[in-house]
Symmetry: C2
């Protein structure tokens, strides 16, 4: 039965990998980044710490991959996949409302909230981790906005002079601001208002 | 010379108060919020810790007041005072560019950066401190935008249906996002682009 050995081993690895992601996210949400250790993740996941060291060089690497996986799960729950980007139905406002409402739901989800706050807080004071977070997690997501806004420019739905990499921040900046600082509730109505204001501007149209 | 006693004492108090603010901001920037203590602030300021306890109930209270004072100094350096709000020259775009450029300069100032990151990081994970930070430091600043945008609405420069409390987040949200996450440089050109995009919208005007 040598044939079945590799699949069994792959299944075990996949199970361990998932247990390590879950343990890392739960732990960082409970005790914060500084007090999260490889030993703590291993104990909680029920694996040896050598298993973790074999796959990842540091706790930052484990956590970043666990967050990438969390984002992938959120995308799949929305019926898409992590690389599918923002829908393009030809209706830019509707597509942006869709993705911003989904982002609001994710920000309001406790599974996402606690570990994300721990990582975000560490990134604010730890420039090196912050740069990894931006490069590996955030910027790929922001590039989905760039591509959708570029398509809208091609379709004549966004002014030609607009820089999509700046324009996207009118949508994601306010959401992150409310989430990080907890100023006011993150609702679908708020997401819709941001889309309306950013697309059509604040000044009257003659 | 009993007459001079009160002023001397007031001067001493003012000197101690300023030393305590400076020590609190420097310390939290160096060691973070969790490791900042009343004892540490007292030692660094060269005062007894009872002096601090007489004036403030907690380290959070000292720090919040030190930040309010830092903001006041930044306003004065701009030639205004802390309560003067956003200028109203009748040119909304110019007034917003002025205040956002000043905010960018403040965010790029190391005196502001280190202690602000320490407080912001703590606020992301500590809901109680975050709420105090928002209520005492942030929201009063945001209300300056509300009042300026309301005046612009009265002048017909902003659409009547716009909610000023949401609209202001198109300006401050993206700045805070770049500052906290260090995605891309915070420049005057970026501030100007935000004002242009938010006021005039991303879609073409017919």
């Amino acid at each position: 039965m040598a044939d079945t050995k590799a699949p069994d081993s792959a299944r075990r690895s996949e199970r361990s990998r998932r247990a390590i992601y879950d343990a890392a996210l739960a732990l960082v949400g409970e005790v914060g980044y500084a007090k999260t250790t490889i030993e703590g993740i291993a104990a909680r996941a029920g694996v040896g710490k050598q298993t973790i060291y074999r796959w990842w060089p540091s706790k930052a690497a484990v956590l970043l991959e666990a967050f990438v996986d969390l984002g992938r799960q959120a995308s799949e729950a929305l019926g898409g996949d992590a690389d599918s980007g923002i829908p393009d139905t030809g209706d830019l406002a509707a597509d942006l409302r869709f993705v911003l409402r989904a982002t609001v739901d994710e920000m309001n989800d406790p599974t996402f909230d606690a570990p994300s706050r721990a990582l975000a807080a560490e990134g604010v004071i730890n420039a090196e981790l912050g740069a990894q977070f931006v490069q590996q997690l955030l910027e790929p997501q922001l590039q989905h906005y760039v591509r959708r806004l570029e398509a809208a420019q091609d379709a004549g739905d966004v002014r030609p002079g607009i820089d999509p990499r700046i324009a996207l921040e009118l949508f994601v900046g306010p959401l992150a601001h409310r989430w990080m600082l907890r100023t006011l509730p993150l609702t679908h109505e708020y997401a819709d208002a941001l889309v309306d204001y950013a697309l059509h501007g604040l000044t009257p149209r003659d």
